[in-house]
Symmetry: none
Subunit: 196 residues, 4 copies
DNA sequence: AGCTAAGCGAGACGGTACGTCCAGTCTTGCA
DNA sequence: TGCAAGACTGGACGTACCGTCTCGCTTAGCT
């Protein structure tokens, strides 16, 4: 029995206005002008409405980014480790270079300032990306492109770790060359058991 | 002709008071209570004194951390890749677990909020750590523990990247097991050319 | 033909709940916690219901106070100016000291903030009290206790004016002594024409 | 030995800007647009500067009114009760009619909302006016225009009480006629002892 | 030895954003 | 169609820090 709650229901319009305004302010300024006050003003929404629905600025940003990015990185159907991973990493790099990078850096920054948001960021964002990459690697194991003794989580840490590292520090490029190097390294590691 | 400037010279006492207070506030609260106001109060120093000598809060934190951590991670004399790298990574993990991790996370967060500080953070902090690791790897190449065709920068990115990734996201442990896995992977990759 | 209106009729229960809650909140806090929100919550009533029936918070308060105080100050049957006025003023003082004073002060405060409520306050509240006092004075004129040339409105202003003044400023007591002094003054003034 | 306090001294400019802006906003709107936010904006002053120096909006208003009104009601040198009091009350009425009335009403309203401000209002404002009137009456006693047995405080309450009453309720005019009536009443009461 | 100019602490300044409270309005479903 | 519930826009609240400023007081080096 679905009990409908009394009272005026949440305004979907207000919700979308907040998320869109947040996303725009974020991409405009890289986070410098992103304040609750500014979001409220731009969205034409009262501040209490924002505080009613999100526990912190960070959570608005996370939802706004998810709201936009839902379908941006398509998981390609598995062909071979060489092909599929390379393509996945190349398109990841591309998306980062095209502006998502700044959002990611901002989210990571927020995650360091709020313990509880860090948890939500991990669960709702990072974990999902890890799962996508891991599923590619699992298919590679099934296809015998990676030895079944490999620690896939470790591979994921190596790949995403070095990508985040370059993104956050800014000492190296996020281009196809980097994607290819990473792919080659995974291929090497995937086969290393048979050899040594 | 070195003209000594007239007037009262910079107070070394004030400088140290600021750096120490900053470090204490940082480790106490993980950054939450770290404001210029709080530093000035705790150090018994006027705010203008702080602004005279540091361009931003981030730079104070960076100097405070460097001030404390200068000698914490000793570079061991090279024996073998297996021994020396393992030793280095294990002691890195230990230092991170013992409290430095929180400071690193805070610095990285600040680096995302200020473009120009990010540069200084890279040059004065990250680059130095990279150089230490790279010098170990270079010695490994000299000792034929790593093939001379390897891209050492890439190895550094893999190692430090995955470490930062775990530190920032908090999805995996920073312990000896992780240090050993990383060491093993570097050894595998170092030899992979000869084999495949 | 009296057409009964369609739809649900006004809930008398809701009305009383609002007035009672208002009165309680008012006497509890002297007006500090008296907000429409608080009234609605305490009365278990929706805010729109309140706005439908009263033009402002002030009007609710006025009605709530009238609702409670209707019969508090009985007009005694006229005996003599000395007896009846003294009695009336003494019981007025008593009621003010027993808690009504705070309500009166709050109403007067509200009346200064809203021009149109000030009119309603004057018509529905103050004027009625003035009329009661004036009717006593009129009976005194009839009984020759006051000279018929006296300006009764002026006497009312003197009496109620000095009472409100003490109540609002708080520089003097509202006790029997004050009531008696006022009575004596009225008696003196009432006869002054014959004499001087 | 006068010890000068350390730190930047209070800005007299900011103080005057606040008081002037407050006075203007008050006379413009009768208190409706008078918010700390608006004062800060109009005065070109930060809100914290206001909160540093005044405990509440009411206290700003009080000081602003005092700041403006310091010399508005001159105490005339005593001639006779008939002349001096009449003149004093007439000029009081005039000042009230010319705009001060609204400020007084607003101050009285604020005094009902804040117990501690009510005390300050009484001490710093009302008491001073009472003292002025009482000094006139005292001179009248010295000149034998008022019997020495009269309770002067009571007379003050009657005069100022009825004036405030008319001002706050708005049921009667504040004109020369009223001033004259009050004067006459005081004269009558002043002599009443000899007679009755 | 005294002068002088910069550094020092203290703390007020104009601001910005915070997170909260309440106002007054709107939109539901139930009675 | 009135009601309770409760979400809505909006505005002011009082607070925390920001980065700048103006004080009077050190204090070290140069004359």
């Amino acid at each position: 029995m679905t009990k409908t709650k009394a009272g005026r229901p949440r305004s979907e319009k207000a919700k979308q206005a907040v998320l869109n305004s947040t996303y725009e302010l974020l991409t405009e300024s890289g986070g410098k002008k992103l304040t609750i006050e500014a979001i409220a003003q731009k969205a034409g929404v009262g501040k209490p409405t924002i505080y009613r629905w999100w526990p912190s600025l960070a959570d608005i940003v996370l939802e706004a980014v998810l709201n936009q990015a839902d379908v941006k990185i398509p998981v390609p159907p598995y062909e071979s480790l060489n092909t599929t991973l390379r393509q996945f990493l190349r398109s990841s790099m591309k998306s980062i270079n095209e502006g998502d990078g700044s959002n990611l850096r901002y989210l990571m920054s927020l995650a360091q300032q709020d313990e509880s948001f860090r948890d939500r960021f991990r669960e709702n964002f990072v974990a999902k990306r890890q799962e996508i990459l891991k599923s590619i690697l699992r298919q590679a194991v099934d296809a015998n492109d990676i030895s079944s003794t490999q620690d896939l989580d470790m591979l994921v840490d190596l790949i995403f770790g070095s990508m985040w590292y370059r993104l956050l520090i800014g000492h190296g490029t996020m281009d196809e060359v980097f994607a290819d190097k990473l792919t080659d390294i995974v291929i090497k590691l995937g086969n290393s058991d048979e050899v040594c």
